[in-house]
Symmetry: C2
Subunit: 192 residues, 2 copies
DNA sequence: CCCATTCTGAAACATTCGTTTCAGAATTGA
DNA sequence: TCAATTCTGAAACGAATGTTTCAGAATGGG
């Protein structure tokens, strides 16, 4: 019938996400976005929608990436405890070496309070993160790798919420030793 | 020589702080601020300065209030462990009943990455919070109220960063039982 | 009381914001 | 090739942004 869309929508979303991630929702202008996406605002409004809609798509994209990572790790043949400790060490590495904090955390505090759709996406993401930890802890307990005198659901809750504070600490103090020490204590609590 | 400032600056800062707290820095407009402060923008610029300067003053004000609270608690005659557990329970109550999250946490993620002055204020605030916990834990250990087989500085670090995740969890899930369970586990770790 | 000084209120400032418009280029199926 | 349709680019939109201006009201010290 007629012409097709010229730009790669998935790539454009990725670029937009990077800008939102770095600057936050409110500090990002439409010009920032169209510059990074390399498209005209008319194309943006014709395909994706307005700034809010674009942001929702970016947060969705961010959480989809995380979901894939968790699924891959859960499918691993290695011991649950090894998968868990690897995950913790990689999380620490991301906190210390990453340029920006976790986008989900930043967004939870800046946007989720006022935007129900964004809140729902992040709540579902947090639920998956929780389930990921629960599955590993439960399997490690059943395999006798860690002590089982505590409710695995409680431990999953507790550990899941612990990361967030590490991001804040690293923003304020840029002290990587401190983060590593907390991670070591974290693992020790589980295993001892 | 001449006329004095008409408005109560301390009260105006308080009102501005409440707006920044609720909406965040970038989503707050100067009209929002002058409306809440009940002053004209010319008065604001003549006395306090621009939006950034006002924000810095508000964050300072927020952290000053916290400092006073910690000092009062540390001056208490009661047992260190009792002071600590009271503090935790009140923190949980604020998370669950408060309308907005902690302003320091929100600001750390939204502004501290890009504003060195704000970062310094929040880093100092976090340092005091840490010291507050350290002092109580150390005193409780010396008094034999809690086991002393762990470095109190590490425990203070760890617990200090733990709160932040509870705020995030409550924003996303509004599950007060979950927060209370985590707080109970938190105290149990200390005392058992 | 009066003059010098300072504060206030309303209006205006340039700039940027998110969004829309639309002519023309591009692409499709026939 | 052609007509129908859709996309793109540049420009423009009104509204809102943070900030400045300045005339006039208010108040201090002499």
């Amino acid at each position: 019938m007629a012409r097709n869309v010229e730009f790669d929508e998935a790539l454009a979303i990725q670029k937009a996400m990077e800008v939102f991630w770095k600057k936050g929702y409110n500090a990002t202008s439409l010009r920032d976005l169209t510059d990074a996406m390399q498209i005209n605002s008319s194309s943006l409004y014709n395909t994706i929608g307005d700034k809010q809609e674009l942001f929702v798509r970016c947060v969705q994209h961010y959480t989809n990436i995380r979901k894939k990572d968790w699924d891959q790790r859960l499918a691993s043949e290695r011991s649950p405890l090894a998968v868990l400790t690897d995950y913790i060490h990689e999380a620490v590495s991301i906190i210390i070496n990453g340029e920006d904090s976790c986008m989900a955390v930043k967004t939870a505090f800046e946007v989720a309070t006022n935007d129900e759709r964004v809140k729902q996406i992040l709540a579902a993401d947090d639920q998956r993160s929780n389930q990921f930890l629960y599955d590993l802890i439960k399997k490690a307990m059943d395999a006798g790798e860690i002590k089982n005198d505590e409710d695995p659901a409680l431990l999953a809750d507790y550990f899941n919420s612990t990361w967030t504070g590490w991001y804040e600490s690293y923003i304020l103090h840029k002290d990587s030793v401190k983060i590593k020490r907390m991670a070591a204590y974290f693992i020790k609590q589980l295993t001892k």
